[in-house]
Symmetry: C2
Subunit: 333 residues, 2 copies
């Protein structure tokens, strides 16, 4: 049987509350008592029961992180940083995946409401109104990434500006027929919409007449889907000068297809991505991309979340994280 405060108290010859005081350190405890208690804790190998503590003071010390699909490099890197930052601040992180089924986002909310997690960092997939109109009793939530509406605190990168800058960067190397990979036709992904908008704004500024046949749709943002989409596109269309993929993962799928067809990157076509995942650096050729500090995204999300947990009523915050264009081999020398 595991030791409890009671056992420790008995062994140290004090009351349970004193043991609790020693551990929590808010109520002062005399040196000698503290020593006795700490001794007893060690001897009994006492570990406090967090369920009990959570029940008593209404907080569990756990936050939930919900991502579309942990297996994708982008999600994995975000998860890594969130876990790291949270750990530094004494939080544990519970992971959920929402990708396969939008219903999960709803499910999550209610889990958060069952007091096992104190707050929620959510990277939504579709999440329009659906999941969030759960009603008044929303748990403290911070959203990651692009969202169509201002539903909660949020940390994001300015996708419009980033996509515009990337398009410009591609044009700077003399490319005019710049295609984008990842536009969505059916369900509107906010990220796809915003990135497309930035791309179009850049074309406009550059005086390049927009050509809709250069918008290559790709529903799922995976290498597989991107490879398939690009392959069938190439079968039916001439090769563009440049290809701006809306994520690095898609770019990696695209590079693979181009290589298989003997199309040289960057000589025949320039390729760029978005997210700066670690593997982009080791892609062949190394991938030009939109980079941003993912650790900062994580720490800002956590900062907003803890603030929100402390003050449920404060105004909704938006943090915009800086980005920069990192030019590597896939767009030229």
């Amino acid at each position: 049987m595991r030791a409890t405060v009671k056992d420790v108290a008995r062994r140290a010859g004090v009351s349970p509350k004193t043991v609790s005081n020693v551990m929590n350190g808010v109520v002062p405890v005399s040196g000698s008592t503290r020593l006795k208690v700490e001794q007893a804790i060690l001897e009994l190998d006492y570990v406090p029961n967090l369920s009990a503590r959570g029940l008593r003071n209404g907080r569990s010390g756990v936050i939930a992180l919900a991502l579309p699909d942990l297996a994708t490099p982008y999600s994995a890197e975000i998860a890594h940083h969130v876990v790291e930052v949270a750990h530094e601040q004494g939080w544990s992180v519970q992971i959920e995946e929402t990708g396969s089924d939008p219903g999960r986002e709803y499910e999550l909310m209610s889990r958060a409401r069952s007091n096992l997690v104190d707050g929620l960092i959510l990277n939504p997939v579709v999440l329009d109104e659906s999941a969030v109109k759960v009603g008044v009793s929303l748990p403290p939530v911070v959203l990651l990434g692009e969202v169509s509406q201002q539903l909660a605190d949020r940390v994001w990168v300015d996708s419009v500006a980033a996509a515009r800058d990337m398009t410009r960067a591609l044009a700077r190397t003399g490319r005019r027929r710049i295609a984008v990979l990842g536009t969505a036709e059916g369900r509107h992904s906010a990220a796809a919409v915003l990135r497309t908008r930035g791309y179009q704004a850049a074309l406009d500024e550059l005086g390049i007449y927009p050509d809709d046949s250069l918008l290559i749709p790709c529903e799922k943002w995976t290498p597989q889907a991107a490879a398939d989409a690009l392959a069938s596109y190439l079968d039916a269309h001439p090769l563009p000068d440049a290809l701006f993929c809306f994520t690095d993962s898609m770019a990696i799928g695209a590079l693979s297809v181009l290589w298989k067809r003997g199309i040289k990157v960057p000589e025949d076509i320039a390729v760029a991505g978005f997210d700066d995942i670690a593997d982009g650096q080791y892609a062949v050729p190394s991938l030009t991309t939109v980079s941003f500090d993912k650790r900062l995204v994580a720490s800002e999300a956590l900062r907003l979340l803890t603030a929100r947990m402390a003050d449920r009523a404060s105004e909704q915050q938006v943090v915009t994280v800086d980005y920069r264009i990192v030019e590597r081999d896939s767009t030229g020398t």
Copy 2:
């Protein structure tokens, strides 16, 4: 204020225990009462408090998953599958990273002992005796991967056999000077030791005289470290015929270096990896690797874990998951 069983009970005109009975469904409840209670639950938007439940019945419904580094594709894929499988069975997953600091493994154990998690799936980095001699009161644990000692239930792939088969496969294409990337010099990683052993066994069988200058050490199993290790190796040694990297991540780093130096894969050198991460398929050229069913690893781990939680005393189990060599472009046509 959140509704509790008491509130629901009052509204439904029954006792709190009856509400509990309706929710848990073990004690029979008459149809009419059940209806009243369910109605009340809906009206009050009642969600049970999991801390209280956890306190009362000693189980939280949460398991912990500890991985070296979530950001690596291998860990990410494992995490993905564990979360998926766990979810299907009604478990939540708490994620911890142990990579940066071996002390975390210890820390984890005690967290597991604080009743916030019911069990632990641990993919150890170094974990020799250190972390596990915490003593008698170990939480239910399942280890993933290669471990030097039989400390707990375990799920793994037979690295020795897999490395042997891969080495043979490389030799089958006529390559004789087969190098391995990832041997460890300092702290002994069990996986490195076993994979090296398999490689050497194959050479032995093939009658190839082992050449220690073909063992390329690489402490960290990241693309970065692999790229650095390979680059400095190539500066000092002639090009081998084949390169067997102990993980796909390392292989991706290696491919990048080879490409930068204009060394053609697979013409000048064959490259193989281990783990079959998703991106290997989209590497340039696509990567030959040791593949195994990661979802099976996850589900077997969970199976062992739940068994262990049910019967703390049973004998230690080892599950060996099948692998197969997947030959792609990086080793020839």
